[in-house]
């Protein structure tokens, strides 16, 4: 028994927020029915495509977000009755679409919730179901901007605009809150017997997530300013990424005030004959380190430039320093730690080819993880096979 086995979920999603939430539920064993329009979910038309074949069944964007699901085609609102049948046995309905898209599909969530009182309805919209911006449309970039996260990301050079952290992160943030609210509602339903409607806004999800930027405004009323690959801060701080011998980068921030990492660093540099004057006793004093910080940074630049990124990462960590190599996705697939933990899994596609996918981000000791099933072809499950048998006629 997996941790979500027995949970029945119907997903109507036109963006990765709803699809990611559904995938995670499916990954943990929920029975996930993805309802798609006849032309397929919009993510089927987003590349890259497997082998470059731009067909709705070959989109890697769709594949990524839709493992562990069954695909049913319903032409809404024409086939609303079939959706209604599906919902009679469902625990959760995920609707991730803008308000106008929801209307276009004839989805009246209040009416559905009224008809299915145990159903938990999660509406994921760009800005929420109520409020002056509720009719606004969005994209990942637009949500990252409006929600404030983008304001912290980019380069030291402010003639360059803020730069988007890639790959649908606004939608990923929203998906995590979709999961949280679904389980809050399920826990409540165990006690109350009733479902509820959840009005989740992608905008709100991003707006509560820029980490330090909000507290910097709540407390000192300071605005943070973006810096290259390190925390946005009210005032500039030293660079934190260093190029290495092999053309890669390591991330390392030296906390000057802590004596122990300073000592470890100097020992490490000295072991390679590269500590120069940093071994001199006056560097034991914080004030001296602060006064000579530009010099220390220069020494660090030369120090990392003569090492390979991977060895600097492992040697630095062995010495207790919080340093990391900036891995590319290609590198991540070869990471010895992730391989030892058997994080990646092989997923077999319908043409019997297989590929490596990231595995389960949460491990429960009590419940086994069954692994992922490849994303379904469009409409590969027929709605008739899913409908509950007609109730027996009453009387004669």
């Amino acid at each position: 028994m997996t941790i979500c086995s027995g949970l029945k979920v119907v997903e109507i999603a036109s963006d990765p927020a709803g699809e990611m939430a559904g995938r995670l539920l499916g990954q943990y064993g929920a029975d996930l029915i993805k309802v798609e329009p006849p032309e397929g979910s919009p993510t089927r038309r987003i590349g890259p495509y497997a082998g470059g074949d731009a067909s709705p069944n070959a989109s890697l964007t769709y594949w990524y977000y839709n493992t562990c699901k069954r695909s049913v085609v319903l032409d809404l609102p024409t086939e609303s009755a079939s959706l209604d049948h599906l919902l009679t046995v469902a625990d959760v309905l995920i609707v991730a679409a803008s308000l106008s898209q929801q209307e276009h599909l004839g989805l009246d969530l209040e009416a559905l919730a009224g008809k299915h009182p145990r159903l938990i309805v999660v509406s994921v919209t760009p800005f929420g179901r109520i409020g002056p911006w509720s009719r606004y449309e969005t994209s990942d970039l637009v949500s990252l901007a409006a929600g404030g996260l983008l304001n912290s990301c980019g380069y030291d050079d402010h003639s360059i605009p803020p730069i988007r952290p890639a790959e649908n992160q606004a939608y990923h943030v929203a998906a995590s809150f979709a999961l949280i609210s679904i389980f809050l509602a399920l826990i409540t339903r165990t006690r109350s017997g009733s479902g509820q409607i959840i009005d989740l806004s992608v905008h709100d999800a991003v707006a509560v997530s820029p980490e330090l930027a909000n507290p910097y405004w709540f407390y000192p009323r300071a605005l943070v300013h973006r810096q290259t690959c390190r925390h946005a801060q009210p005032t500039p701080t030293q660079p934190a990424i260093f190029p290495t011998l092999d053309g890669r980068y390591v991330y390392f921030t030296l906390i000057l005030a802590d004596a122990k990492p300073w000592q470890s660093l100097v020992e490490w540099m000295d072991s390679m004959g590269l500590a120069a004057d940093l071994t001199e006793p006056e560097y034991g004093a914080l004030s001296h380190r602060q006064a000579n910080f530009p010099h220390i940074q220069q020494m660090l630049e030369s120090f990392f430039l003569v090492q390979e990124a991977g060895s600097a990462y492992h040697e630095g960590q062995a010495r207790g320093l919080p340093i990391a190599v900036i891995n590319s996705p290609d590198d991540v697939l070869l990471d010895e730690h992730l391989l030892a933990r058997r994080f990646f899994e092989d997923v077999t596609h319908r043409d019997h080819s297989s590929a490596t996918y990231p595995g389960a981000p949460i491990r429960f000791s009590s419940h086994p993880y069954a692994g992922q099933v490849a994303a379904p072809d469009l409409g590969s499950t027929h709605v008739g096979d899913l409908l509950p048998p007609a109730p027996p006629a009453i009387g004669t």
Partner: protein
């Protein structure tokens, strides 16, 4: 640091009695970081002897929780913690691997105390594997998991993240994991040990680009990757962040197809350049983004970012002001109407704002009943009322440095 606190904050918001154990001798990092109401200090400029009750970040992370102090490095402290665990149903920790083991708080022991305990272990690298002891915080996780690499302009260093994105995301996934386990336990009565490694979660969030590598063998170690604010898939254009009136102010605009393009053209008053042949189809616009961006920037730079956003969105164009926290808190009419941010008073800090829950639920509502506890503020309630220790016993523990 933030992961464990934010993960349990969500449970506290929704009514769980969350008891945070702190150590008087080793003050929690968010209590020491320099987020004060009257002083602007970047990280790295901490004051030398900070008042632990003044730290804004701790207030932010630990609202709605009870706070006690226990010195877990003493035998009496560990015994006291075991008594507290015995009357609890969930235990969470966010230490480097090995710390809880050293104190004897392993899952098997916790199960002896609470047979159906849920024990959530929130770490950077997880509790197995060759790098489990690596030191991590947000930026380290982001670098190691590939999330920093995929952000930036082509042909230069990554711009990565200006925040510990993975602290938040690991916290959210840990909240979800706890709720999943609690929900499951309601029906099958089973406890569980949860292991969330932030690095693995980071890889999970890498998105479809990972399959482009594993399915198509298309490397990301190439000079035209990553693509900054532009998209390779789908062929959106314009798709970027454009200058606005004011210093360092910007608006994001995203156009995915011909009908969105026509709405943009109309919204900006149909200037002549929009009729150029090089902008006459989505493919052509995607191929000529440099020229497109140059023209569009001339239009955006006349507007305040929120004005530009509202003007464009009112005409069906996807646009978002690059809002800063002041905009979010003082101008954004949507967040204001939905009450996403809220305020609570704190006895030392005074009134402070907080980030709330991003969904309005018809059946469940957060209960914001207090700001973060002062150091040891709830020792009497928790050790007295909940565990039944007498006043003398508590005084003895205090004198002995146990609480």
């Amino acid at each position: 640091m933030g992961v464990g606190s934010v993960a349990t904050r969500l449970l506290a918001d929704f009514g769980a009695e969350v008891i945070k154990i702190e150590d008087r001798a080793r003050i929690d990092m968010p209590r020491r970081l320099p987020l004060y109401k009257d002083q602007v200090r970047s990280f790295g400029q901490e004051v030398s002897d900070p008042d632990p009750d003044r730290g804004g970040l701790f207030n932010n992370y630990s609202r709605n929780k009870l706070g006690v102090t226990i010195n877990l490095r003493t035998r009496e402290g560990r015994e006291l913690a075991e008594r507290l665990i015995s009357v609890s149903s969930v235990v969470t920790e966010n230490f480097a691997p090995g710390v809880m083991e050293r104190w004897g708080f392993i899952y098997e022991r916790l199960r002896e105390l609470v047979p159906d305990v849920i024990y959530a272990r929130m770490s950077g690298y997880g509790h197995s594997g060759p790098h489990q002891h690596y030191r991590s915080y947000g930026p380290v996780v982001q670098a190691a998991s590939g999330l920093s690499y995929v952000a930036g302009l082509p042909g230069r260093e990554p711009s990565g993240w200006g925040l510990s994105y993975m602290d938040n995301m690991a916290a959210y996934y840990n909240s979800a994991a706890l709720l999943m386990a609690i929900w499951k336990r309601q029906s099958d009565g089973l406890g569980t040990e949860i292991d969330v490694a932030a690095v693995e979660l980071g890889v999970t969030l890498l998105g479809p680009i990972l399959l482009d590598v594993t399915v198509n063998g298309h490397t990301t170690r190439r000079p035209d990757y990553p693509t900054g604010n532009r998209l390779e898939h789908p062929n959106a254009a314009p798709h970027g962040v454009y200058p606005c009136a004011g210093e360092d102010r910007w608006v994001a605009i995203a156009v995915f197809d011909d009908s969105e393009w026509r709405r943009l053209v109309e919204a900006i008053g149909h200037p002549a350049w929009t009729d150029l042949d090089i902008f006459s189809s989505q493919d052509l616009r995607h191929a000529h983004q440099d020229e497109l961006d140059e023209h569009l920037s001339l239009w955006t730079s006349r507007y305040d970012p929120i004005e530009a956003m509202e003007l464009l969105e009112a005409r069906g164009v996807k646009a978002g002001a690059v809002q800063n926290p002041q905009d979010l808190n003082e101008r954004d009419p949507q967040l204001s109407m939905r009450g996403t941010f809220f305020e609570m008073d704190h006895p030392v800090i005074g009134p402070a704002r907080f980030e709330g829950f991003p969904a309005l639920m018809s059946g469940d509502h957060p209960d914001h009943w207090r700001s973060a506890p002062l150091v040891g503020e709830d020792n009497d309630y928790v050790f007295g009322e909940i565990l039944g220790l007498s006043e003398q016993e508590r005084a003895g523990l205090l004198d002995a440095g146990v609480i």
